[in-house]
Symmetry: C2
Subunit: 420 residues, 2 copies
Amino acid sequence: MPKKNILYAQSGGVTPVINATAAAVIEEARDNRDRIGKVLAARDGIMGALEERLIDTSRLKKSEVAALNHTPGGVFGSCRYKLKSIEENRREYERLIEVFKAHNIGYFFYNGGNDSADTAWKVSQIGDKLGFHVQCIGVPKTIDNDLPVTDNCPGFGSVAKYVAVSILEASLDVMAMASSSTKVFIMEVMGRHAGWIAAAGGLACREKGDPPQIILFPEVPFDKEKFLDRVRQSVEVNGYCSIVVSEGARTPDGTFLADAGTTDAFGHKQLGGVAPVVADVVKESLGYKCHWAVSDYLQRSARHIASATDLEHARAVGKGAVDLALAGESGVMPVIKRTGNKPYRWKIESAPLSRIANREKKMPKKFISADGFGITPSCRAYLEPLIRGEAYPSYGKDGLPEYVRPDFVYVDRTLDDFEF
Amino acid sequence: MPKKNILYAQSGGVTPVINATAAAVIEEARDNRDRIGKVLAARDGIMGALEERLIDTSRLKKSEVAALNHTPGGVFGSCRYKLKSIEENRREYERLIEVFKAHNIGYFFYNGGNDSADTAWKVSQIGDKLGFHVQCIGVPKTIDNDLPVTDNCPGFGSVAKYVAVSILEASLDVMAMASSSTKVFIMEVMGRHAGWIAAAGGLACREKGDPPQIILFPEVPFDKEKFLDRVRQSVEVNGYCSIVVSEGARTPDGTFLADAGTTDAFGHKQLGGVAPVVADVVKESLGYKCHWAVSDYLQRSARHIASATDLEHARAVGKGAVDLALAGESGVMPVIKRTGNKPYRWKIESAPLSRIANREKKMPKKFISADGFGITPSCRAYLEPLIRGEAYPSYGKDGLPEYVRPDFVYVDRTLDDFEF
């Protein structure tokens, strides 16, 4: 049987460790060069796959591939483009198969979240219908940690570590300033639909009274009076109050707090930002001086403070994808199965994409404390192993991390242009 | 001569490494216990000194003192309280002398910026007038890097490293997303009066075209059309645009951009935040999708990514203060003198507080590129050594840095209460 190539593509928001997954795919495929051809990487995710913009990773030096392990972002480019259903846009699926045929693709690895799992699953079905069998493997990645079946999602652990470390540090700052200046610090984190990332801030609160004193979850409707009471109480008892707020925090009627209000001088609705809204509420009602931070992309690109556990997971799912491909599997995803907490143990298993596609893992109710402002011991037991260990990048003489942006060699195109 | 005690106090905004200065003071004093008594630390800076709230650092274990080297914030508490002039409020100076007398203080170390240098200088004068000689030493600290005479200020190098690393990382993120989603990323950094911190973002731009493509300095009046042209150009050429904006960026008439506009739903002026204002300008005029981050306290507490050079400086000025005290000096500050760039070399010298108090070191014009959007090679040559080296804290099994908050023992009070 002639060797088939892998087509690897990154999808959706990138993470500090998605490139480590890519590195593991490439390295594992190279270790199995007797059975697998090249790894081609789509430029800008599925869009590049459709447009036949394919990077030949066999032209990357071993050291360049290794450096992907410590480079954040998405080195091949990612995209926010969801294939429509086969019924709505069969043309895109047919085009993908055409690209697969043209470049001897036997394996399609789609590295992303729920949408990507859905796409990989659909592609696995249409291939067979069109008489071209391609093994489709979803490879998990998302800082949102909302994929079902898998214990956690590569990318999340590093963001969780960044958030926990950052709120711990900033809290030490506000603690020092509170006697005569800032009394309240607010840090906004990502997670529009689920509070996984906000919950990670709770890891900094190791003993009662420790910061953050308040976490505002998307899962808990914002109760202004109860919130203000808690802020006042923390300032009276601790001298300050440290708050983590999820971008998805919302009022009881479901409105995002971030949309609750701000307009600029021209009357335009201002772009996002729940932290300043919360700061306004505190300032107006209690008069405390506030500082606020919005970590935005900083949190999900902070490879400099990545979790070693997360990095291991990210590499393991990359290797796992190649293993599944070699085992002849299709329509599956390598997932992380937790087998113990003390000590933390885990392994890679295979799960059908049909169980993962388009489903969201919500944070369990039992992970949020009864008052709605913190995390429970069971949440801590779940989260803590995911942020363990440091996996620092190397630094150059200029004091900056040695992140790489290799010069890519593209595969020659053979097909007509594709119009979206 | 009976041994005299040191009174050490922290002042103004804290830094990732101010506690390392404190550690060096305590350690150096302990190494000279034949000549120096105890190091007492004022709780909450000068306020605690006036209120006679004094921490006895001789009760700290050696390991606790050592741990201060990697703990951010201000472990004894800081304050934003500036003593008025002697003419306006002689009472406060007299009270300080009273506290010094009561606790056998022979040396007053004030660890802060311009204001603190001024206070230390005034205290050195009033002591002699009141017949109680106390050696007053200013110890430099400020992330703003705006003290004159000293080559740089401990605290700044670590913030500079955080900013350079963070904008590099976030730029890799937006690069990956730009084909189908976010095209512009904006990171707000501190520096209300000078662009030192914003300039540090320019270190990430190692080659022409590298991010950040735009830095908005307080020193360069915001020219909206020129700015928008540059954003458009960068998106067209690079596919994206990465921007660092100083909180002090202002319009040609001197208005802070952050104040240029936003009001909340209730018509209240919104609290700060220049990044969302810049994002609005881009969105409204060019239609590009923007993401923005406000790093606020995160940048100045990020001990996890501190510069090793900065940490050395912070310790050296602490040791230098004790050395100056032992040499009988007063009204002086240990400052950093750069003696070479290739290789980077520096030493500690002594400078009179009268040359430092109430003066601000502006960023030289020659450090900003001709187009006003970047830094020059001479600026890079100045900044680069300051971010070199990594000085990681140790981490616990829970994946978090082992920052300390020791239980302090306070000195018994002997004076009446002090009313501000």
